[in-house]
């Protein structure tokens, strides 16, 4: 009898609990696999690609993909107007999108969390000023503001990333501040305060970990927004500059050939769509797994 009473059911580790809920969502798992493949291609692109991404094969310009008449296995997805291999360019291009996503989310999230924590803990007037500034940034359509910022800084992928990070940051500030305000009133924070925890400890060690769930979901979603916006800026000629094989820039270069060579337009866009879709699927799964309100208990 004493034996059974002693077997206390241990709470599973947070990671295992997370995986348990995440696995329930089949779409999210598929998204995770596609994202893993994307990350792999992004990291090892130049070693996987069959050709150099900028090498021009002048005797094979605008060659169709292999399954169409005139295509060959040398260039499985065809070639662009300058005779560059589409497949190689797409593979090497993955790293730009991946890089954009990582950098933008890191900058926007770090900045946003810091400012949001500050707004949540600072006196009322500081909070008001910060939130009004965020309102001002949010009043501009994000792509337009990014476009104007890039016009000021000069068109390049780095400046596009900075601009997109600035535009995405207010979302993190709002999310963090809202979570901080609701957490701050809870008993465990009061007890930490009574126990003598200083403000930095209260902010970063006591409160922040409990605000992370919505921020992680937001990070996944803004990863895809960053990729889309960077591609849009590239498409408008304000992002990565040719001959960089960035997917949006590739689309812009291919625009005049849309009616003659469907493959130069179709594949870069498809690459963007599949990547963004995979990340959004993952984001939905993350939300289901991390949001306690929606958890099936």
């Amino acid at each position: 009898m004493t034996d059974t009473a002693q077997t206390v059911i241990e709470r599973p580790s947070p990671l295992r609990e997370f995986w348990f809920y995440f696995r329930e969502n089949r779409g999210a798992v598929i998204g995770l696999w596609i994202f893993a493949a994307f990350a792999f291609v992004a990291l090892f692109g130049p070693w996987i690609a069959p050709h150099d991404a900028t090498a021009q094969f002048r005797d094979a310009t605008l060659q169709p993909p292999v399954w169409q008449e005139g295509g060959s296995w040398t260039y499985p997805l065809g070639t662009d107007p300058l005779g560059r291999d589409m497949l190689s360019r797409l593979i090497v291009g993955a790293r730009f999108s991946f890089f954009v996503g990582i950098v933008v989310v890191s900058i926007a999230a770090t900045g946003g969390i810091l400012v949001g924590l500050l707004a949540g803990f600072a006196p009322k007037w500081v909070d008001t000023i910060i939130m009004r500034i965020m309102d001002v940034i949010l009043a501009f359509p994000s792509l337009l503001l990014a476009l104007v910022l890039v016009a000021i800084l000069g068109p390049s992928l780095t400046n596009a990333m900075i601009a997109i990070a600035i535009v995405l940051q207010p979302h993190y500030v709002r999310l963090t501040r809202a979570s901080v305000l609701s957490e701050r009133q809870k008993d465990y924070v009061t007890s930490a305060k009574v126990a003598g925890a200083g403000l930095p400890r209260l902010m970063f060690i006591t409160v922040l970990p409990n605000c992370l769930a919505p921020i992680i979901v937001q990070a996944a979603l803004s990863f895809s927004t960053a990729i889309l916006d960077a591609a849009a800026l590239g498409f408008l000629g304000m992002g990565a500059q040719p001959p960089t094989p960035e997917w949006g820039t590739m689309l812009a270069e291919a625009r005049e050939f849309i009616l003659r060579a469907w493959w130069v337009v179709t594949f870069p866009g498809l690459a963007i769509l599949v990547t963004v879709l995979a990340i959004n699927l993952m984001g939905d799964g993350l939300r289901d797994a991390l949001d306690p309100k929606l958890k099936r208990s």
Partner: protein, 335 residues
Amino acid sequence: MLNYVLTRLLTFVPTFIGVTLISFGFIRVLPGDPIVVMAGERGLTDERYAELATQFGFDRPLYEQFWEYLTGVLQGDLGNSFVTKKPVWDEFFALFPATLELSLCAMIFAVVIGLPAGVIAAVNRGKFYDRALMSTALIGYSMPIFWWALLLIIVFSGNLQWTPVSGRIDLIYYFPDPTGFMLIDSIASGQKGAFGSAVRHLILPAIVLGTIPLAVIARQTRSAMLEVLGEDYIRTARAKGLAPGRINGVHALRNALIPVITVIGLSVGTLLAGAILTETIFSWPGIGKWMVDSIFRRDYPVVQGGLLLIAVAVMIVNLTVDMLYGVINPKIRKR
């Protein structure tokens, strides 16, 4: 209610000042000397430089310059375009109807398809229709719309030859445009075929622009409906023996619409951002294309003024949505 309206209006003022500050600062953070940039002349002599500095007001303290800018803005003075020499204000309002028409049609497209799709998905939760509709919505939500536009052009303009690739109407038609809305003006002109031509020009851009709002509306409607369908009063309605169509269509949808309307209102910003891409691809003579062209031409007064007017437009729409939200949802007024 009056209290709610007043507090909401009060927050409008600082945001408006902030927006004008950003647009005011724009010229001053450009790389290079703003006076040289604004003058657009080469080899400025020192005297000419000083003269221009006085003319543009750069010799005075910043706060005075800002005050002058702010009062100018409130009187509709945003300066003149470098390229056309016409006032930015006039150019904006000449092109605005084109963007408004496109955005309205895109929104109608999004609501007419997105709302029923969300309701059908919610009612069939977990079944085939739900999964099919929501997968499609997620694809639409992830769509790079500039690529989507190119695909539609390949299929409908290239292969099928159904729609033209650019502009608002065929060049053979010419008529006055009292409303600025091509669909209305073409009917008013009474010219045969003009309306059809306007519709053919509008349909692809409207679909492209409406795609992401459509996906957002469908997803939001579904989740709002699911929430409402779990409420007690829905169970009561079922117990009373009401027809499922009436329960879903009247009892549930009416309450589910509240968050959906907010989403519709808030997608105006998305819509204007999307208009930049859509108008550029379809050569639609609206605000988005005007802004992109001005950025490339380095027509700074236009970029500055356009940025401000677009932000104010978005703010006014958001304010209106908030007010409407207060009217529809009494809970919010008390806050």
